[in-house]
Symmetry: D2
Subunit: 378 residues, 4 copies
Amino acid sequence: MPGKLYYPQCTVFIVKGKTVSGNTFGNIFRITTFGESHGPALGVIIDGCPAGLLLDENVIQKELDRRRPGEPGNPAATPRFEPDKAEILSGVFNGTTTGTPIAILIKNTSQHSKDYTDISEKFRPGHADFSYFEKYGLRDYRGGGRSSGRETAARVAAGAVAKAFLREKGIFIKAWTEEAAGIKCGTYDESEIDNNSMKAPDKEAAGRMLESIDKLRMDGDSAGGIVAARIHGKIPAGLGEPVFDKLDALLGQAVLSIGAVKGIEFGAGFETARMKGSESNDPLSTGSEGEILFGKNNAGGILGGISSGAEIRFRVAVKPVPSIRKVQKTINTAKKEAEIAVHGRHDVCLCPRIVPVVEAMAALVITDLYLRNLASRI
Amino acid sequence: MPGKLYYPQCTVFIVKGKTVSGNTFGNIFRITTFGESHGPALGVIIDGCPAGLLLDENVIQKELDRRRPGEPGNPAATPRFEPDKAEILSGVFNGTTTGTPIAILIKNTSQHSKDYTDISEKFRPGHADFSYFEKYGLRDYRGGGRSSGRETAARVAAGAVAKAFLREKGIFIKAWTEEAAGIKCGTYDESEIDNNSMKAPDKEAAGRMLESIDKLRMDGDSAGGIVAARIHGKIPAGLGEPVFDKLDALLGQAVLSIGAVKGIEFGAGFETARMKGSESNDPLSTGSEGEILFGKNNAGGILGGISSGAEIRFRVAVKPVPSIRKVQKTINTAKKEAEIAVHGRHDVCLCPRIVPVVEAMAALVITDLYLRNLASRI
Amino acid sequence: MPGKLYYPQCTVFIVKGKTVSGNTFGNIFRITTFGESHGPALGVIIDGCPAGLLLDENVIQKELDRRRPGEPGNPAATPRFEPDKAEILSGVFNGTTTGTPIAILIKNTSQHSKDYTDISEKFRPGHADFSYFEKYGLRDYRGGGRSSGRETAARVAAGAVAKAFLREKGIFIKAWTEEAAGIKCGTYDESEIDNNSMKAPDKEAAGRMLESIDKLRMDGDSAGGIVAARIHGKIPAGLGEPVFDKLDALLGQAVLSIGAVKGIEFGAGFETARMKGSESNDPLSTGSEGEILFGKNNAGGILGGISSGAEIRFRVAVKPVPSIRKVQKTINTAKKEAEIAVHGRHDVCLCPRIVPVVEAMAALVITDLYLRNLASRI
Amino acid sequence: MPGKLYYPQCTVFIVKGKTVSGNTFGNIFRITTFGESHGPALGVIIDGCPAGLLLDENVIQKELDRRRPGEPGNPAATPRFEPDKAEILSGVFNGTTTGTPIAILIKNTSQHSKDYTDISEKFRPGHADFSYFEKYGLRDYRGGGRSSGRETAARVAAGAVAKAFLREKGIFIKAWTEEAAGIKCGTYDESEIDNNSMKAPDKEAAGRMLESIDKLRMDGDSAGGIVAARIHGKIPAGLGEPVFDKLDALLGQAVLSIGAVKGIEFGAGFETARMKGSESNDPLSTGSEGEILFGKNNAGGILGGISSGAEIRFRVAVKPVPSIRKVQKTINTAKKEAEIAVHGRHDVCLCPRIVPVVEAMAALVITDLYLRNLASRI
């Protein structure tokens, strides 16, 4: 299905002043992020976090460190140095949340933009710069403005607070790289995930992924992959609202709002399309202590958009990094054909960096729905 | 990954009064739906539809008729008779919208609930009734309340207004059954889609789908499938907001909020996970009249969460209908093990009924983002 | 302070398509109204009403009847006949709310518009038709569209549900005409309010108000007045959010959104501007059973935007009906000077009709804040 | 109307964890404030400010300086030193807004809290501490948390951006002290307002106000007053939405959300209650150059909730500062009767400090409605 660009009619958007809206997410536990990758700082305000939660900057820093690229010996990531340091500016007193808005600040330190100048007049295929240029009529050649992957640092900071809340309720969220550069994990060892720079639960597969990625890097190419996630522990049945704010609908928005994600499926997902009902349905039974059991989990823990109490499972398609050194055909800002080879330090495979962002976005959704459930009691 | 239900901790939700929230969708073009499948009526208020749009009840009726089940000779659908008749109560004067809220009413006529009584004390595997019971502490044995598929009639009515708006802008939305009961379409003839009861673009494949479905019906079983969609015509580049309200994120929420949908992917979707960047990226070039062309459309018309001007493409996984006549293991409301065989008239494959709902939800997202783009001009 | 109209610069708004936004009010208990005074129907959807509340159409009808004009012997009101009949379309089952959206419909019966034709080309001084024309570039000569006083019927219907909720919590809202046509009430007998067509708590003053109003009607003139309100019973301390959603801020928006209201004050209101702190402050003490008492109530039950537990009190300035038979100077739609005498049946003093609307709007605010308080528990 | 506190029933709110919600204001031009008076910083995020607006920190600083107390020779204000310094963290590039969220930070410097310790166990009459204690079950003895007047610094910073936007459109907002300690202004000299520490437009009256206030300070008492405002210049007719988001309704919420404000009236306000329609209505005519004129401005520039193009006028009742040195009766946190004399440095009359906050809140409302008007074009 080759796509023809209907260029003439979008002239309507080429007007001078515009806003970049949609910076708020959530209903009761509600975050607003701000900041450009090359401005003085980025950050987030969390409005609606309940009082009484133990919280300090270490809780947030730990999560920020997990998304940091460039750990030694990690060929999947770029070696740029971004020492994201979280500062809590409000909403916490004596190590406890007060119920007031929590503002978290992350100062930008390395604001050099010289790496980008050579590509400032050509559109990188597969990259947001073309659609941004069409929308806003200008390019932030310094590294993407609000579209930069760096914006996700604010999400991870907010997600760290949500995860702390959920931990107190006995709910845990874990994401990992399930597949990268065509190599799949064969085993699941949760303790291994944060041990390797692929964030894969299978040590041996992680090693082979890194080898493949190293080879692609030398070829000037990049790799896609699959990130998977589970939400487990004391997940109550009943999370999710039955019409537009279904649990899977909100997780869908949350996760698809992460750059490079091209699809999401819950439980058996696309496989259910080829099943019969008698195969797809998860039978219910009871265990020895009267607990309710599902015989399998094709539903991924979600029935009718509401959590069933079974583990919540989803999988996410991550496309290859579009910025590659290999020569590609493109056009320039004057709409003339050109060739481009994107130099500079770029990630080869985004999966390990997306893992903590997926956890953060899922934590925001679960926390918000948890609080909405409480709100509906009278 | 068998799922153990953590039942004890959800007792917190078993309190008497609760609200079913999340009945509103959209930002500027904003809809609120209401109505139970067995109450006097259901409907929708559209707030934010611009004045000056030609609109009458036929425009809405035409779409409602497309989601109606039970056309003669359609073994995929249930033969229940639901003559959904749209009435416009406000917001339209002399066949033109006035800019005020548009209220659309669809009266319920057949409110008999006897078909459901035999299953009133057992949970149907794969069905929402278990998670609803856990959330709300009660069951609406009359047919699902807000979780009923009938709620989507209100979405289709609102979507008809959005489609009318988009048509005036030269933007068209088309969905179809791409695969059902394991049978895939091989050809794409758009004019064929509304000609067969599978809503498939391949007449011959549609015939084989119906045969398979007929056989499954006789076996007391059901089938899943894939619904695909394209948004084409004068799609402007620039739809979608760069952070949480990305075009794919909002389409994701919209489509995953339809019952039985277990996954969504954009463009090449999950396939991109196994591609290299040099394969995944869509090269840009220019045509003979200076128009911009994408060499292929792995991106599905979306780059960085913003439309690129290329055709927008996505695919949706639809699970099999969970209500089947075949005997299944389950538990009853007293949490004892039991067996269940769901009698009554049920759809075997939901794809044809989901097709117009997917179009409606996509139309709501595109219209809202289109108006948000206009709103950001100064 | 004579006002010069800066006409030229508003040309920017004279464009064809526009929306009439702002039809939703509330956060958790959230209403959206729809309907024009001369369309087929008007109504409201309430989203967020908790399940388990006893509700039937009589509860709503009783309130609608209180705002109906034209009771025999009521010279304050117009004798037009508007038999507002409430129908509940969803959200109620067996006389109890289910937590799903409650849609209430009020059909319009008398849709004749001939009374308005003679004024279709001149702007009525003091009336919304000039500002509407400037905003929307058109006039709904049929009676005001969304600006019609009839829109308040939908608010009263929604308010009836809120009042039913508050009654269960032991909270009561009562408004009355405190002053009209220059005549003030001297006594307060709550049982008298619904006994006279002025809705005044002082029978004798009500009689004199009606005499004055009758005289003004004969002169082709009209009268303003004061509506006062108290919220009493088991009002919990703690209603209201400390920053933008203070209790008085939200009551202010709610009440000032009623047509003809030109001011609101809480407790001693504008009088506090001339007090010393030692006079203005309400001292706290304890009663014989340990209950907390305020020595007086200059604060009107609100401290720092949050209810103190004392009775909530506010007063509302209602301007005279602008449509009068007396000849006035004006301009016509061609922007030429003209004279106008507004014929037809119009209210002389709006106070009695505004009384139930003030109660409804206050009930919506109190209910919403009550539920927000519940929502913030964990 | 002495108020009896219904204490027992508010026990429902005395639960441990709670959120302080309602920190966001506005629809398209939308602000979220954060920060406690004694935490590390306070600030605001503005989401929805159009790109292309000239903005630097001086624009914001200038407004912040106007609300600063303690200028030499100002007996109305407390001599505490608060050097509010605005830092822009995002959303501005090369002195121009980019359309992305604008984060503004104001660091707290003097965080000593010792002045408050002596009153930590008694409720100050007329002060928010009683209602806060009842709502949240705890007191922030360090100076009010989110209820502190210092929170308004964030509003003033956001308002400075809104005022810069409006200035470009030729719209100006000016507030002033019209009356304080019983002394009214007799003349209006706009250039005088920022010349005296009362922010009064009448130099001589300002002098007498300061004398009165000095005397009250020595008596350990305080004073109320009236703040008035005008919005003038190229005000377009058409600002305001016709139902719940009327211009006066939103200005009402905005201004009543400022602490110590007990009432608001538009145009002739409460006086219209005693007028006849023939007196209250503002006649329309045309001027020598065809411009439209209103003969007077009882409407305060607002008809049917929508700006008419005439100057917008409103007046605000400000109660006396509740913290006074004079001995008052009260109760303590153990609910026993007590006496209190509030020592420490407090303002005597809040009017001059409220003036820039009223301007800021009005600017936020006008900017938001201006952008909503643009948004509704198609």
